[in-house]
Symmetry: C3
Subunit: 366 residues, 3 copies
């Protein structure tokens, strides 16, 4: 904003040489995040996650006129959806749009990628060319599109190896970093500093045989930000041991407790946050197949594993969180999901702001 | 790029304060339309339809530099296509683009919405979250995606109930408001004031078993704008009685006639406008199924029900209108569809301008 | 609109009516290319191809701030993909985005176009309406979506006949003009003037039964730009005789040789460029069917027809080119495809710049 003379009067002229809002005031944004992959928050430094969260909060307050609002101007983000998704597609495509860019919705069904069984293009070739077209690549691969747990994670790492542009997980078998960041953003905004606050991740019954991505990411980032963690589930619902080792390490680093229990009530005791969610057993993938129906049948034996108002009374007036879509009547009652302490819509909204921040900082021009 | 004096020094100024075209002249646009749903024109006040039509005409003349041309800048419009469509998708997606925004093409096949039969997300949850991402929602649901007439209309109203952003019909089982506005826009531009002008809606044979959305909307809006109405069809092709009650009320309010006849020639007599179009019988939906083939078989018995040059001679040199795609050789002959009095392409073009006007006025930032 | 002093004179500053980068310097761009179809480079004058290549090179150097960088501002490009494609979709959609416009990804499965077998819309009607919405139309139709060689070419010409906006081939059964331009752009940048340089098109085995579009376009444009041409293949892999007649004419016009051989080694002898690619026989389409498996079976009999390092030693240190996706291990060894002389990624990148140039010049506003 400069002042110039017009008809003898001084007026403000908002120069604008570039299409970006001027950044004469406001914080600086580190440039070393440009080009960085985001496969899990665990692989980013805590201070850089803090920058993402600060930027996301700024963008939430100042949605269309943030200093980085044009940082993807005319740039393209490639979204590969091996699995369909409503929320993830909407939030990423809107994020790119609000940064002045464009997200391409790509379904790899239409791609001739080489597999063990078919002729096609190597990831080396595909990623090399995409790096010349796009500002970044997002990949979502879950559930029935993989033949063993970890295959999706490997695909992302193969893309990240060959691409010279950032590869961002839009949820894969192991991790869901943007979901984890959105959870933490909401919790910080509601509870302030999370150090020493207690979070419960509790298994819920359901007919959807859900993946571990969102919940593992939550355990990692919540423990990273100083929360103590309860995990409650029926027996047989252990998560990835490597991930749990990192959760333990994070808890230890912050002098917090990690408690794993099969006693539902013990889980709810005195917590500040309840995250009730269905997930599959470690046996869901066997012999290169996803045994979905078996998982559903097993899950529906545990009719008492639903988050309801009575159980919430055991907590310290806890917030209810969930990555959505919520399986109402299974994972949680309507009363809790639509209750005063539910922050599910706020978290879903945060996806947009977090993803804008991640895209701007890793792919943007500023 | 000009050089101006700033604090005594010459600097380059590349003007451009906001991305919007200046609005120092030109008419004002009412702000009370922001947030308004458009499920049928019948539920909007006539004066507000007039504003839409005036704005659409302005935008047609001034396609890229209208005062509202940037009113969707970087905003997103969600298009839910339960049924595929070429024209509707193209015209809405181009409309959002020309307003500086972006339309997401979403196919609910990729959505896990809860139904009586499946686990999934409630409309309450879906609409609440979308309201935090998008500027508006468009929904198209027709024909084989519903199990009874009226189910699509109910879906739109459920979305409208839970969404805090406008819900716009992109054609559903009952109504097609943007088509009706486009029809009227063309007729006003060709015939001037429509008060007292006569329109014929005439059934045409065909193998497409078409829905009632476009024709019911036309009857409602044409009668609203003062036209007198003839409806001609073989016996057994009655339309929705509730809609027809409103058409009658509209005609009465304008002291115009509503004539329903099974005599084709009587229908054509002395009219200014002919709308020949196939539609299904009230029996098309029975036992939660769409009996499409039965409708086609029945329809093809009426070989004489085609709009041709001879029948057009009975009119007052009438305009031929149709919402397209035209089923040439069934609904109408090539001679009439491509003839001098055909305004089908003009109407199709109007879809773009009308939808830009509706989006700008209900979702835009101005 | 404000009036400011500039060098002592009062001038109006409308700060930026258009969103384009100022064009005070730089070359002019001919306006007579506006509205021009691009079905094959053979139908464009050489001097106009030179303009496209010059513009594409400028855009490669100045990707986001070229004088024509905003020439598609808020305009729409319709992409019809009868066949799926990764590279072509990505490069066209990014091209439109980088010019400030938007490309719609349309799959004609969702279109009700009239065919001999079904009711639907005529190309006349579809193209007439699209001309009122879009700035241009791209069409891709290949392989299993046609019933005889030439049917796709006819479809493009039908669209071009009825559309008042440019129709651009995004690869069809006969031609692939943007691929050909990208090939030539890379060769010029590597080899300088192509006059008298020798190119080999050599058949490669493979399980993909590839169409003639890319290779025929290459032969046409390479011969047009003065290269001498070797074509080497097993017997029975002749290309379109009409196309080959034009290639011969182009060679003659430049006093260059066209040599067709079934001796692989003769083909490689002393060439500057090697293009190894699988293609189908003239018998691939018979009785309105695409005999894909038969083609694959036949192709895999020729195990020695693979481009490898030994064969490359017969050349003058030739560049290796290919339109991608590369069928590594069939058409070419990894060693050659990823070797120093491979320019496949550069050519793939050129697709973006060439298509931006073509869109800007034929559809843009400048």
């Amino acid at each position: 904003m400069v002042r110039v003379k017009v008809h003898g009067k001084k007026v403000s002229v908002k120069a604008k040489v570039k299409r970006k809002t001027a950044r004469t005031t406001g914080p600086d944004y580190p440039r070393y995040l440009r080009g960085k992959d985001l496969i899990t928050t665990q692989e980013w430094e805590k201070k850089d996650l803090d920058v993402v969260l600060r930027t996301a909060n700024e963008m939430k307050k100042n949605r269309f006129r943030h200093p980085l609002s044009q940082s993807m101007y005319n740039k393209s983000f490639f979204m590969f959806f091996y699995n369909p998704s409503v929320r993830t597609r909407q939030s990423f495509e809107v994020a790119a749009t609000e940064l002045g860019g464009h997200a391409l919705f790509l379904e790899p069904g239409g791609m001739r990628l080489k597999t063990a069984r078919t002729a096609g293009e190597t990831i080396e070739d595909a990623a090399n060319v995409m790096s010349r077209y796009a500002a970044g690549i997002g990949i979502r691969i879950l559930e029935d599109k993989i033949t063993y747990y970890g295959e999706g994670d490997q695909l992302l790492r193969d893309y990240a190896r060959w691409a010279s542009i950032p590869v961002i997980s839009m949820a894969h078998d192991k991790y869901h970093p943007c979901q984890g960041l959105s959870d933490i953003m909401a919790l910080q905004n509601r509870l302030g500093d999370l150090k020493g606050k207690k979070a419960l991740l509790v298994w819920g019954k359901g007919a959807l045989a859900r993946s571990w991505s969102s919940i593992q990411e939550f355990l990692l980032i919540a423990s990273r930000f100083g929360m103590s963690i309860n995990v409650a589930s029926p027996e047989g619902y252990d998560l990835d041991p490597d991930v749990m080792k990192n959760v333990k390490k994070n808890c230890d680093g912050n002098s917090q407790e990690l408690k794993i229990t099969h006693d539902m009530k013990e889980g709810y005791d005195n917590v500040h946050v309840v995250y009730s969610r269905n997930w599959m057993t470690p046996q869901a993938y066997r012999n290169s197949e996803f045994h979905k129906q078996e998982e559903i049948d097993k899950s529906l034996q545990y009719q008492e594993w639903i988050c309801d108002a009575n159980k919430m009374k055991l907590t310290r007036n806890a917030l209810f969180i969930h990555p959505m879509p919520v399986d109402r009547g299974n994972e949680v009652t309507d009363e809790v999901a639509s209750g005063r302490n539910s922050v599910i819509y706020e978290i879903a909204e945060n996806r947009l702001h977090v993803q804008k921040a991640v895209m701007a900082l890793t792919m943007g021009d500023f």
